[in-house]
Each structure stands twice: as C-alpha cells, then as structure tokens.
Symmetry: C2
Subunit: 529 residues, 2 copies
C-alpha cells in the first residue's frame, strides 16, 4: 500500500522472494545475501489448496510422521497416523522415573527420581538445525544450552599415561605445543621453503609461537605462559601465598599416546560444534508438543501388516496390539515413515527398486545407559559441569548433565554411548550386566565415587527395540549412490520419509527435512492428479 | 560413634583433614587425591573465637570488602564497612534500564527494556573459580551457562579476506588443515627425523591426517570430509535434493591473513575455557546477595579522607557525600579494599614500602558498550547464539547474549570490549560518540541489521569512573617481583585486599581469594595480640 511505503528491509525482501519463488528461490537469495548456508531450511512449506476431501495416511508417529501430519493438515488434507507403539514420538524419546523399557528379551522399570531423565535417542540440537529449532519455537518447546566442549572433562586411553585419565585441556595444549614446535623447527630448517613463501613462513612462525605458546627458542616447555592454558601444579590465589606454580607438560611421546586429536576433531565436526541446545525436561518435549497438535489424528498400538495401492488410493491393513482387532485404513496418498529395518519385513506394494533400496540401507547400532547418582560429585569434586569424558573402552564416553547445574540431590549421568563394536558388546548383555559394565568402565574417571554414589540405572539397546531394530541409517557412499534416489522417489501414491530418507541420517533435522520434502512432493502430485 | 561406624568416604576424609589441619593441609590432601588443583579454594576459612568486642573496619564495599565483612562477622567480630558510592558491589556491577552512569565529565541514563542489562565489569565465571561458585551457592545466586566458544561467530581483520568477516569454524578448520599438511610434508621428507622417533613419526602422521582431515595424499583440499567440519556451499537436506555441496577452503596465505590462531589461543586460556557461567539477571546479583547479609554493616556515600593507626587501633576519617557531614570510625583492625589507583591519593598511615607498592601497581583500562537491538537478528538471521565475534578495530569484539535465547523483543549486545589502545580511544570519546563508533565498527559483522535494529546504548569507560580510575590491576612480572609481597603484607593493624592483592588480577575470584587470605591473617594477628 502506497500510504505505508518505506524501503523494504532485507527481511521483507526475503519474505517476498519466499512467497513468490518458493523455498528454493528463497534459499538462493539468502545464500547470495550471506545467510543461511548453514541449513537447507527456509521456513516450513506453505502448502495450500488441497482438494476438498483429499486424504493422506501416515505410517509412523515419530517426528517425521507427526510433522507430515501437522503440515498436511494445515494444507487442508484429512490425515490419519498409524503408530505401532503405545506412545508417539518414535526415537524422540525420554526415559523418566516410572517408565518401562521393553526390549526384545527384557523389560526394565526406570527408577529415576522425579525430574531426572535419560534421552536414549537424540539428545542435542546444533545451532544450524534450523528445522528442529523452528518447530521448537512454533510449538513452544523451551530450549536450554547443551554443554558440549568441556576443557576440564577427561580423556582415557588404556595404553596412555598408565591408564590414568587426563584433562582434555592438558592434552589439547600439549598437542598444539608439540605440533607447533615441530612445524617451527621444520620451517626454520628450510624444509618447507619449496611449499611456503617467505612471507607466509614468517606468519606461520608467528602463528606457531603464539598458538603453541613456545618460548623464545621456539620450544614447548614448562612455563607460566603454558600453565596459563593447561592449568597449574598450584593454581593462582590471593594474598601472601597467591603465586601459582606451573605444571609439567607431557612429552611428545606421551601426548601422542593419548590421541587427543580424536576429541579435537570430534569437537570440530559441523554437527558437534557449539552452540548446542536441548529441550528443558527431556528431548521428548518435542514429540509431546507435536502430539498436542496432531494427537487426535494418531491411532496408537496399531501394527500395520499390509499396504496396497492402486489408481484410486492406498490401503493399510492393521492389527490393534491391545485389543487384537483387525482393520483397514484408506486414503488417497501415503507418507510412510517406518524405519527401513522394519519396513523391510512389511508386505507393501512397492517396486523392486524401492524394495532393494529399503533392503540395502544399513543401520547403525548404539546403546545408551543412564546412571542415577546420589549427588553431582563430578561438579563438586571435579569441577566438571556438563560435557563428555571419553574412553577407548566399550562405553566410549560418559556425559555429564547440562541441566540442573549446582543442584543438590540425585542426578543422571549418561554412562555409555558407543556406536559400533562397543554397542554390540553392551547390547548383547542383560540390562543388569550393562549397568555393571558401565559402572566398572566409568570408574576409571571417578574411581572413589562411581560405585559409592550409584543409585539406579536404565538402558536402551537400539538393536533390541522391537519397533526399530537398530539405531539409525548409516548410508555408505556406495549404498547412497546405488539406492538413495530410489528410496526417496514418490511411487504412485506412496512416499517415504524419515531420517533414513535424508543426508542428515541419525539426526532429527534429517527426519524433519525429509518429511517436509516428502509432503511438498506429495502435495504437488495430489494437485496434478 | 561406634554404633554408626562405616568406612569413611573420601569426602569424610577430606572434611576431617580440613577440620584438623586447616585449609593448606586440605589442599595438599585434595591434590594428592587428584582433586582441586584447579583452585586454591578449599572452602571458606573457618574463623572462630574472635575476642569479645574485637572490631574490624572495612574500607570499600565491593566483593572483597563484603566477603571480608561476611566472614569476619561469622568469626565474631564487630564490623563496619565504609563505601564511597551510593551502592555496594564495586565493579560487581550491572546496568539496568533506568540506571544512571556517572563518569568524570558525563552522565548517561540507561534506556534498556525491563530485564535487559549490561555487565560493564565482570561478566563470566570460569568453572575453576571455586570461590565465586561457592559464594553463589551459599548466597543463593542462580547461575546459568555463559556461551563462550561459538564456532559460528565471526572473525574480522581489516586486511584479510577483503575485510569480509569469516566464520570462526571455517578459519579454524583451514588453520588445522594447512598446519597438518605442512607438518606432514616435513615429516615425510625426513626433515624431523632427528627430533622424532620412527614410532612417534607414524603416530604424528596419523594425527595430522585425522586432525587436519587430509586426503590420501596428505593434502588439505576441498572434500565432503572437510565440509563436514567447516560447513557447506549447500547444507545437507532431506529427500530428493538432500545432497550437500562442499565449499572451498581458504588458501594457506588467506588463512594466515586471518590470524585465527589468536582466537584459538584465546579459547585455550585457562580462564577462558568452557564450561562458564553467569548469574541470571546480571552479575550484580552476587553483590546484591552479599549486601542482603552484610548491608546493615555498610555505610554508603562515605568518602574516606584519612586513615591512621597506632598500637590501640585504626581510625578512618570520612565525609558523607550526601549530607557533607564529617565523621570518624574506629576499630581494632582494618581491611582496606580501596583500589590502588584511589588509595594512592589517600592520606593513610602506611610504610614507605607499602606506599611504593601502591604507587607502582599498574592498572589496565577497558571500555564496555551495550547496544540494545529491537530483535535478536544474530540468532534468527545468522544462527549465532551467544559467543563473540572478534575484530582488529578499536571495539575488539562484539558479544551476543547468553541469556534469553530465542526470545522475541529487544536484547542487549555487548558492542565493544577492548583493553589497551582501543579502550583509550573509546574512553576519550563522549558516550554518544562511543555508541556511534560501536555501531560503525560492529556493522562489519551485521551490515544490514546493525543500525536498522539499534534502539539505545550505554557504556562504561573504567578510566573515567571516579571511584576506580581504571579497570583492574595488571601486574607485570617486574612490578610483581618488586612490590607484591610489600602490598599484601599485614602492616600492624591494616591489611589490604582486592583483586589487586592476588594472582587473579581482574577477576572476582582474585578479589575473594585475597579477601579470605587477608581476614585469615588478620584473625591470626588479632588472636596473637
């Protein structure tokens, strides 16, 4: 309107481009303006104009399924969601006191105190997972910071430092000190004069001196300057005895035995970088928030046994797990978010190519173990607030809670979080034996407290959860090249969605982005029909 | 008691050692058990048995003065605190909407919205500042995480990348990539065979390959593996267009121009490491919590003009800044926490050696500028949640709030925080011109939003604050060697305290540790008298 004219802000411009050109154009524009390359998310799809009476059946009530239901309902579709479990959310899952964990072959009752929890599935949200962040904001899920890098947490290798855990900070400072000294020596000896210009050489030497905290002889050695990074034999204080005493850096060989570059590399991963978040009260707050909106569309305890499709629509045959009743649900289209591990076993009318893709998709395994301790000894006795201590034992790491810092009373540690071999090892144990293994292995970090303060534990071995039989999709480059497009293509009236149908496998962001892409294509197909 | 006998826990043991042997013995024991080397703090001093009627006069109602009053009162002393300002807390100070900032030569009214604030003094608490954390817990000050390392924040150098700010993550990944490639080349060329054993050489090559994300030729170059750390030209997504596109690493020369090792070194400093905290609602919550306990002992608006001591006691002559009334306060002993910059000008009965120490003590300068913006564009448009963006301009850095993530409405950025030259430059400007400089310089990071979203600003130039005339003590090695012990020694009935009397200059931890040391010695002296 002319009377309200003012120069459009960048936000106005982007909003306009989004409305006119859609998501892809908006993404291009944002990228050109220097924004948003951190995510493909440019806002939820603005689906409108579903034909009156058009319907969609969604299989699976995890985040992919519920977000599909949420957006399709907004577009005007009649939606029904069929969910195998007695709860919605899928791997968006939190164990609270009183909950029951049912694996193949075992049942556990969770004994945590009120307010304490374990997120056995997703547990942290990177700053660039804009789709997850969008829905948290839209659905009113309150987020709090998740502590990722903790310099005072520990690193343990059985064959390093006599098996004694080291502070990450000490190892990191020693790593950069030794690397700097060696590169400085090579530069000064002229060994890299073919690779590096004289000007860059000077800058590199300055960088090595400063970053490595080298002395005037370009040596990494005990000094107050080094102690000001790696900490002290005696910390600085006040008054007459305030003078600090530096401690001894590790030798090159000792430092190398600790392999701290593995942790340094871990923290450098795009999906592991800071700032991170978690929902207050548990990751399941996201699933619960979706359920508030679409819960009335969800049929729980519903095991789908057969899926057919023809020119008119889709039909899912199912059995109610509680009553045993058998039924059918019909719709014009279907979004199927059942994990490939389970979908693989379902009688579903899809092409051989898509079935091959479902069969070929590899799933990783992991185990999480929660250990409730009487008190936060890691905070009071070790000054460790959040973050992770790593080990080369089967448990892989222990992680300290990011919520409730400084609180009295019991708190839950993540006592194990392995992928691969360690996960299969722990998954093969009974829940009781897993706890025992977690206590035995985690004791390397906190020997005096770990068993003494232990109250109760709970675990989830994803390969033994009947509704998923694995943790999440771990595409290889080869399987991706051979099968990914076959998996995600819409086949007549059925489209698949979920983290396995994304390039963010194992992340909620992947489940949501996949779902938004699927419903957008479904909508285009429906309008074209 | 025998009937309740059980094996003592480590905590029981430490508590016993503390009771029997005092703080020093406890510290030794804790160190031997692998704890607590991160701090000299072993719990507050357990001072008891002050002689009936014994009194202490405390000059200065900052954290050093109020903690002295708090502990001395518990020990049984009669305490009075004289404070120059109309508020207690000293540099433990937060600007809220409606506050007035009075510098030499200017007055500002703070216009921030309710709940928004700027901490012009201390603003973050490292995990190892156990004394600050102790009092926060004891006094009920609620803490929340302070976001320190933010991989998605920006780094700007006027002469790097054509003046275009870079993401810290990109620069950091490029730095380790190029350093790894060069050290790998030097190692493979045999240039370090004199310095490194064959076994360590193999491990170093493995470290360089993994940490640097080098390809099979030990080269740092564009790849999906590198993009999985530094981010993408197009981020991973879901469905048919999910495939990510890697972006281009910077060349060695470009990377070096950005000097990212300065930020990497900054984050490695012991006092800058994660996990960090801040009090909810502003750093002044700590001062206010102390004031709740000792406020009735504090005489505000009281300018001390003269201090004498003799064999019987100490006398401070003062003038009330509001009424103009003149008075005297007497006590057996004195803890003087007046900053050296001001103490230097006071007529006080101390030895030439102590006066020389007071005169010799150098103080740093700094300026902080708060900028209230209409909305959190750094979060919504840049995915920057907390942390700092650095620049080589006078403002030195801007910092994004750690509180209120995702909230709608106005929020306060720290728009400048220089020490040294930049601080003197900004301190020399009127408050209005400082804001203009902060907007002009900070715009390099957020050019479209910085001025458009600006609401109001406030600043503190510490060299112009009449009650401190500088920011904090910045001892040199030489001045420390010549004067430190002379400064902190108890002289007859007077002992000095404050961050300047510690090896944690410029930190609240130093003020508190110094105060605890001072009152412990004062108590010993009083009992011996």
């Amino acid at each position: 309107m002319i009377e309200n004219f003012s120069a459009p802000t960048r936000r106005d411009l982007l909003s306009l481009i989004g409305k006119v050109g859609g998501g892809a154009a908006l993404y291009q524009a944002m990228t050109a303006l220097g924004h948003a390359t951190e995510s493909q998310f440019t806002g939820p799809p603005k689906l409108t104009g579903a034909r009156p009476g058009a319907s969609v059946l969604v299989l699976g009530g995890g985040l992919a399924g519920m977000s599909a239901a949420y957006e399709l309902t907004k577009a005007g579709y009649k939606v029904q969601v069929l969910e195998f479990q007695g709860r919605a959310g899928g791997r968006n899952y939190t164990l609270h006191g009183g909950d029951t964990v049912t694996e193949i072959g075992s049942t556990q009752k969770v004994g945590f105190a009120p307010g304490n929890y374990l997120n056995p599935g997703p547990w942290r949200i990177p700053y660039h997972h804009r789709t997850v962040l969008h829905y948290c904001k839209q659905l009113g899920v309150e987020l709090e910071p998740f502590s990722q890098i903790n310099h005072n947490a520990l690193v343990h290798h059985k064959n390093a430092f006599g098996g004694k855990p080291q502070h990450f900070r000490d190892m990191m400072v020693d790593f950069k000190g030794h690397v700097s000294e060696l590169l400085g020596k090579a530069l000064n000896a002229g060994a890299l004069d073919q690779q590096v210009t004289a000007e860059d050489k000077e800058k590199l030497l300055e960088a090595m001196r400063e970053w490595g905290v080298l002395d005037k002889n370009m040596t990494y050695s005990k000094s107050m300057a080094v102690a000001d990074q790696r900490g002290y034999e005696r910390a600085p204080g006040g008054g007459v005895n305030g003078a600090p005493i530096p401690n001894d850096p590790a030798s090159l060989s000792d430092m190398l035995s600790g392999k701290v570059w593995q942790q340094m590399g871990f923290y450098a991963e795009y999906v592991m970088q800071t700032t991170m978040f978690q929902p207050k009260g548990g990751m399941d707050q996201i699933g619960k928030a979706f359920f508030k909106h679409v819960g009335k569309l969800v049929r729980l305890n519903t095991k789908v046994t057969k899926v057919t499709q023809d020119d008119k629509g889709v039909t899912a045959t199912w059995q109610d797990a509680v009553t045993g009743a058998v039924g059918e649900s019909k719709a014009d289209f279907m979004v199927c978010t059942i994990p490939a591990t389970v979908l693989n076993q379902l009688d579903i009318q899809l092409s051989p190519e898509k079935k091959a893709a479902i069969r070929a998709l590899p799933y990783g395994n992991s185990v999480k173990i929660g250990l409730e301790m009487k008190r936060r000894f890691w905070e009071t006795d070790y000054a460790i607030y959040g973050g992770h201590s790593f080990t080369d034992q089967a448990i892989s790491l222990i992680s300290y809670p990011s919520a409730g810092f400084f609180k009295e009373g019991p708190a839950v540690l993540l006592g194990a979080y392995p992928f691969g071999a360690g996960a299969y090892q722990l998954a093969g144990m009974t829940p009781e034996k897993r706890i025992e293994a977690a206590l035995a292995q985690g004791s390397v970090f906190h020997p005096a407290e770990y068993r003494a303060e232990f109250l109760s534990g709970a675990s989830v071995a994803w390969s033994r959860m009947p509704w998923i039989l694995g943790c999440c999709a771990t595409w290889t480059e080869e399987s991706r090249a051979a099968h990914y497009q076959n998996l995600v293509s819409m086949e007549n009236r059925i489209v698949l969605a979920g983290e396995h149908c994304s390039y963010y496998g194992c992340w909620q962001e992947g489940a949501l982005l996949s779902s938004l892409d699927a419903v957008t294509r479904l909508h285009q197909r429906a309008l074209a029909a």
